[in-house]
């Protein structure tokens, strides 16, 4: 069940994944939610934290989606609440690739003492249930955006190290790398010019499902109250803080919930389409909670 490293097949037609039925839906969902998350704050009619009316007011002309538990405008909070989910998940995933990618390259290429040491540490981290890891980390470091990013990034690191290491080992044995070494190129040059370009294809297919996982983790932690602090506008946080109003003002819960679901399902459909266009599958990678 180890992650199989499929080394760059070469880009087979850009965006071919979007031509499938599910890939197209995934693309539309993802782009729409991203649009709201990125440009929403500029379109919000009110400041997201301003107390404007009575709590849990039904939608009317002044507040198209009604008000929330503290009498803030739900529409404005929805428009402002997507940046955190999308932003933190993306940053965490990117950091994971920088750290995991470097460790994997070093472990795979040098095969020095670093390799076994790094890999045994990664074994321990992989044996740690991911969500449990986040909870333990939050106990020690407290809550907040930085802990959220560090925690979610750490969960991806062991998996990325393994994939990069395996891909590096495979590329390393090929003729062009041996030729570069024989030419007397420096190690950093070999890594940068020969190895990295040949494993990026593998990494792109690996990154898509990881982004979905990051979004799920960030949203879940925010929902549990272990991520951002109120009064931050965040879709997952809105879901938990407005739950007491589920009977009288369901919009304050339904709209942010719908956007999160659209985002995670959209990115997952995209990830699946990308993987299938490369002849692989995301099924093995999705057990992440």
């Amino acid at each position: 069940m180890t992650a199989q490293a499929t080394v760059a097949h070469g880009a087979r037609g850009h965006l071919s994944f979007a031509r499938t039925w599910s890939g197209g839906i995934g693309l539309v969902l993802t782009v729409s939610v991203l649009f709201i998350a990125i440009f929403g704050p500029f379109l919000a009619p009110h400041p997201p934290a301003a107390l404007l009316g009575a709590p849990f007011q039904a939608p009317d002309s002044a507040f198209p989606l009604g008000t929330d538990i503290l009498g803030r405008d739900v529409l404005s909070r929805v428009l402002c609440g997507g940046r955190t989910v999308v932003g933190y998940a993306t940053i965490a995933t990117a950091i994971a690739y920088v750290i995991g990618g470097s460790l994997g390259l070093i472990a795979g290429y040098t095969r020095s003492l670093v390799d076994p040491v790094v890999m045994r540490v990664m074994d321990v981290m992989l044996a740690f249930p991911p969500f449990l890891f986040l909870l333990v980390l939050t106990t020690g470091l407290g809550t907040g955006p930085y802990v959220l990013i560090i925690g979610v990034a750490s969960i991806h690191v062991p998996g990325i190290v393994r994939i990069v290491r395996a891909a590096t080992l495979e590329v390393k044995g090929r003729g062009f790398v041996e030729a570069a070494v024989a030419r007397g190129e420096r190690r950093s040059a070999v890594l940068r010019r020969e190895i990295v370009p040949n494993i990026t294809g593998t990494l792109v297919a690996d990154a898509a499902p990881r982004l979905t996982i990051s979004i799920l983790l960030v949203a879940s932690l925010n929902y549990l109250g272990l991520g951002l602090h109120p009064p931050a506008a965040d879709w997952a946080l809105m879901l938990s803080e407005n739950r007491p109003g589920l009977t009288i003002q369901p919009w304050s819960v339904a709209v942010p919930g719908l956007l999160i679901v659209a985002l995670t399902i959209g990115t997952n459909l995209l990830a699946d389409a990308v993987a299938r266009s490369r002849g692989t599958s995301i099924d093995r990678e999705l057990i992440a909670r």
């Binding site: 069940m1 599910s22 045994r120 540490v121 074994d123 449990l132 949203a219 997952a236 369901p250």
Partner: protein
């Protein structure tokens, strides 16, 4: 996460299976020791003064010193780790910083509650998902397969807290059929009031079965494409027999791993689902303890869950070796 990822080939001997089991258990203990270091560093040795956090900003220096001594925080890290670990091994989990009760009395009945919820979820989820996975995987690309495959692909990415909230909205708020929260008297279990189990169970089954359906489907698709299935078909063996005798039989080993993955997935899903429904299990207890920074409870529950997680991995690996003769001789 991935059963068998850490099993380097053990040395060849006359009792390969016994050797393999011993080796796997040894690796498991080593991993658990590694995790205990991470848990200890994560909860008790990271920057951020636990005593100040517990007592609040206005705590006097005397109170801080007393609490630090009580927590053993005035001793050096490795000594504290050793004290903690030997305490755990002797079955002493310490006392809750919040209520002062022994941790074992706080988590004992909650472990039972969680096992009831997870066990019930597993009993519903595993057969349901395997049947759907086999039906879909038997004929890849058919209408049934497309529906099952795309629905499960979408559900896999749906956060548990949203599915749970949705179920609460329809079945508790709109229809008034079931309780919105699973509140139970302290120390009791849900068997006395099974209605509180339904919605948490449904949430786990909906999200969890999506994972298992995809895994089983992938396994069956692979088996049905194999040479021996083609051969059986060419020999004129009825399709039903081909599926059962050749397809499913060879999907047996992956199935064991699927069950292991289900149990591991359930552990991860429980934190969120129990919290959504305020279900009194260890998942909810852990989340609450993290928020309250009740370090002894967090440490005990974390080690308990990690040990369970690793034990599942070992059992799955051993079961697979016992089930597949090829691996038995190779081991």
């Amino acid at each position: 996460m991935e059963p068998g990822h850490d099993s380097d080939p053990p040395p060849r001997t006359r009792h390969p299976i016994a050797r393999f089991v011993v080796w796997r258990v040894a690796v498991g203990i080593a991993l658990l020791a590694g995790i205990s270091v991470l848990v200890f560093i994560g909860t008790a040795a990271l920057p951020g003064d636990a005593a100040a956090q517990i007592l609040g900003r206005n705590a006097g220096s005397g109170a801080l010193a007393i609490l630090n001594r009580e927590l053993g925080l005035n001793k050096p890290g490795p000594v504290r780790y050793w004290d903690w670990l030997t305490g755990l091994l002797h079955g002493s989990f310490g006392h809750s910083l919040v209520s002062g009760d022994p941790v074992s009395s706080l988590i004992g009945f909650r472990v039972v509650n969680t096992l009831i919820l997870a066990g019930a979820a597993g009993l519903v989820l595993i057969p349901l998902a395997m049947v759907l996975g086999v039906i879909a995987g038997r004929r890849p690309g058919s209408a049934v397969d497309n529906v099952v495959a795309s629905t499960s692909l979408a559900m896999i990415a749906a956060p548990e807290f949203i599915i749970g909230t949705l179920l609460i909205f329809f079945f508790a708020v709109k229809l008034g059929l079931l309780p919105a929260v699973s509140i139970l008297a302290f120390g009791t279990n849900p068997l006395g009031d099974p209605a509180v189990l339904v919605l948490p169970l449904a949430t786990l089954v909906i999200v969890g079965s999506a994972y298992i359906i995809r895994m089983v489907r992938a396994g069956v698709v692979e088996a049905m494409r194999s040479d021996y299935v083609q051969m059986a078909r060419l020999n004129g063996i009825p399709e039903r027999r081909v599926v059962v005798r050749y397809g499913l039989r060879n999907a047996l080993a992956p199935t064991v791993q699927v069950i292991a993955l289900t149990l591991q997935w359930l552990i991860g899903g429980l934190f969120v689902v129990e919290t959504v429904f305020a279900y009194p299990g260890i998942g909810y207890e852990l989340v609450e303890s993290v928020i309250a920074r009740d370090i002894p409870v967090v440490q005990a529950v974390a080690m308990l869950i990690a040990a369970f997680y690793i034990a599942i991995n070992i059992l799955a690996d051993v079961a697979v070796v016992l089930l597949v003769p090829k691996l038995r001789t190779a081991a």
